[in-house]
Assembly symmetry: C2
Homo-oligomer: 498 residues x 2
């Protein structure tokens, strides 16, 4: 608990009054409402899923596999941080559609944008952006995506989803690598004829290096770099690409600096070995892809030093460096991009995004731009209606200083988790996080899954990740008192837990 200042610890205790396990004290902070458009607390009417959700699940089961369905939602009635389900249960949502709702539900700014008649055309006339963009496209990109471009990047390509973003970022790396290798943009006749039948040299044996525990999507290119859960991978053909160990650090990071640095050095060494080995195999590594925090894989952090060194290793071996910010990007770590915490201006060659950004896509350095049109291409290449909503989101983030709010509420959340894990060490450990992008481990997977259900029945929606972690992915409008609201409920659940 070294990193908790005395002041903050005291204020936490004052707010939460987590004095006697089992006793619930709702702090004053926890009852304050964020704004008129939000509710003030969870309100549960049935266990979740309730009877209406169960009936709808049965109906949907006639059409699709419903094995992953949690419950059905009433999005019209949902507001801000509160998700209302089909049975009228109102939950504090710390999962936000797998981390993809930036401003909570039905944010007034977004509703207003949609009600504006000038915006209708963007929603009904979806263009083929790569050939016939709307006339405001350069301006809209400049005022939205480029206004938050990672350092060193003035170029961005929109895409429809996270997987397509990574697939196309991979392709950009392959194209860049081959042009570099052949020293010209003009392929040989052998290359042009062989590529049409999937054969070398036109379809070269290049590889992407990824990490154990990584998640980069589930289309077949991305999936070859995803290594977080069996259910993602089983039965799908893949590529023989190198997979490095991702550091397994001890938390809190500040208490295990030396051991963690050793672990990171071990992983970096392994990365270099793999790059050499795959080059010798005839499958050179064109690029490295990494998440700033491995998210699906269990909220695994690494130090800025690790990432900066990894980026150097990539450069040393002539590999492009892609930072996948699909889950970490958009502000939840307290900075717009998680890699900004590394404190360097030269973080990456490409940065992919989606989820909270509402549109998919990737930024890249000039040299990663394909040399010709139609090399990176598909029908839609994104969706201007999502760019339009993103502009509004960015306006709200700036107007309401939401990144500062995230930093503040994230501190309250993480401090509360520290407090709870020291109170319930048999149940919780390894609390960690940046901004509100936090996690804590349960004793085991069964305990984790049970805790999630109990917390949900008390009105808080959360998700799991990795083997036994609970992940926190609230919207950017999550405030300190929402953190306290959750911590009170979590304390109740833990104190009653057998």
């Amino acid at each position: 608990m070294a990193l908790l200042s005395r002041h903050l610890t005291l204020s936490l205790q004052r707010n939460l009054r987590l004095v006697t396990p089992g006793c619930r004290y709702v702090s004053q902070t926890a009852t304050k409402t964020v704004s008129e458009f939000e509710y003030d607390a969870p309100s549960m009417k049935t266990p979740v899923p309730g009877p209406r959700s169960k009936e709808l699940t049965r109906q949907l089961g006639e059409i699709q596999n419903v094995g992953a369905i949690n419950f059905f939602c009433n999005y019209e009635e949902s507001r801000g941080n509160y998700l209302v389900d089909a049975d009228g249960n109102r939950m504090l949502d710390l999962y936000t559609q797998i981390s993809s709702i930036p401003l909570g539900y039905n944010h007034p700014a977004l509703m207003k944008a949609l009600a504006n008649p000038n915006n209708l055309s963007a929603f009904v006339n979806r263009p083929a952006l790569g050939i016939l963009p709307p006339e405001n496209f350069p301006e809209k990109l400049t005022e939205s995506l480029l206004s938050i471009a990672p350092s060193g990047m003035t170029r961005v390509q929109t895409m429809a989803c996270g997987s397509c973003s990574n697939e196309n970022a991979f392709k950009a790396m392959f194209i860049w690598y081959k042009n570099k290798e052949r020293g010209t943009n003009d392929p040989s006749p052998e290359e042009t004829s062989s590529c049409m039948i999937n054969q070398r040299p036109g379809c070269p044996d290049l590889s992407i290096l990824s990490f154990m525990g990584a998640f980069h999507g589930r289309t077949m290119g991305c999936l070859a770099t995803t290594h977080s859960k069996i259910i993602h991978k089983l039965d799908i053909p893949s590529f023989d690409w190198p997979i490095a160990p991702f550091p397994r650090l001890k938390y809190p990071l500040e208490e295990f600096v030396r051991e963690n640095a050793q672990e990171e050095a071990r992983c970096l060494e392994e990365v270099e070995d793999l790059i050499v080995k795959w080059r010798q195999k005839g499958k050179p590594v064109a690029g490295i892809v990494v998440e700033p925090i491995q998210s699906e894989g269990g909220d695994n952090h690494a130090s800025p030093d690790f990432f900066i060194k990894l980026r150097s290793v990539a450069r040393k071996h002539g590999c492009a460096f892609l930072v996948d910010e699909v889950q970490t990007g958009g502000g939840a770590t307290g900075k717009f991009w998680a890699h900004e915490h590394w404190g360097t201006d030269d973080s990456a060659d490409l940065v992919s995004f989606s989820k909270k950004m509402l549109t998919g896509g990737y930024y890249h350095r000039d040299e990663l731009q394909p040399d010709k049109g139609y090399r990176i291409f598909n029908t839609w290449m994104g969706d201007p209606s999502k760019n339009l909503l993103l502009s509004e989101v960015l306006n709200v983030i700036r107007r309401e200083n939401l990144l500062e709010e995230v930093t503040r509420s994230g501190k309250a959340l993480l401090q509360g988790l520290y407090e709870l894990q020291s109170r319930y060490p048999h149940l919780l450990s390894r609390a960690r996080g940046q901004g509100t992008f936090c996690a804590v481990d349960a004793r085991d997977d069964v305990t984790r899954d049970n805790l999630l259900l109990k917390i949900r029945d008390k009105g808080v929606l959360l998700g799991g990740c990795g083997e036994k972690s609970i992940r926190f992915r609230p919207a950017l409008v999550f405030k300190e008192y929402h953190a306290h609201q959750f911590l009170n409920i979590f304390n109740d659940v833990l104190s009653e837990y057998k």
Copy 2:
């Protein structure tokens, strides 16, 4: 010209008065307006791209590769079949954003749907459909996508785009194939451990059989089955999957029945040989993917008999059969699905779609449904706001009998193309089509590209496909008089062509 009835030929001549080459007679039909919301003719103010488009291309060039940009559009001012560009040029659009605009621009029914306050929530609260669907989701799927489900299919999975649709349809085939092979849904410990590191047996060496000239998307799984253009494939690693020849037929099909049947038999034989060969190689074919009309590859048709036999070959060898209707689906062939022209109730195991359907996705038979949740999964799994717009599109198609209209205007278009190719045999050949989904070949690629530019400067937007084909992809609101309007302009261009 055997298939042109005397009556139709006469009516065509009456309407077009294509009597003297070089003389332009605008028929009465060609001046009628479709409805109040549309313009009545092209109107050109500058060459295309005009100065404003050029300036915007320069601006966008600072952000992206603009090698594929045609011009910039004013979507607000576009109406029905007419696309207005940034320089105020108004073009009859026979390309419709690479065949992805079902009802033309700014259709009143879609504008109305968007202005309806009850619909706002669907646009601002994009859910993670696989875990937390909106309560109206089963009902909306039933009234939209399932109301037009291909015969034998009661199940549908939405996705964000065409590539993701095919990627996930491929995955469904792999999962189905492996479960069938192992005789149980429970993988072995060897499978579960090896899949995490991309190795057999967990990531098996299965393959998908595709055809030369095919286009199924450009993410890495799809791309391994795409074989239409070098620019799609070059420098991207791929899979060693079998590629069969697609029939190269002679047109009009009705005049070359015997030769075409022989060509189709040759291709089917090759398909069987490849399936056997790849099984022997240890890379069994889990599925076959085919377009009902090869679109990007040059509008290559095959007979119903070919597809029915191909489907039988798939079944005989235990392969799943996926019909990719991303470009052909949605009504342009005069039936909702192009495969309905095959006249069988047992066309496929899976049918994928996107483009005119506004949402991506695929239908499938019950047995292709994955056995567990999270096997076919991603964050968004489609977008309910697109389903909502699709519902409106389907209402309009039914209310206005648009499939009949497409059949009628498609006949006028194809008959006009027959007429023009007999008038200009040194320039045009191989006119072909189903509904308005038509194409004609130019003498060579240079002529084709030149014709497209000249036609555009006279106010008609068209696209190429294959080596030297011009493809017609108008919206479903394209009427007979739009066909005549185009044919008049095309005749002018051809008559002046050196």
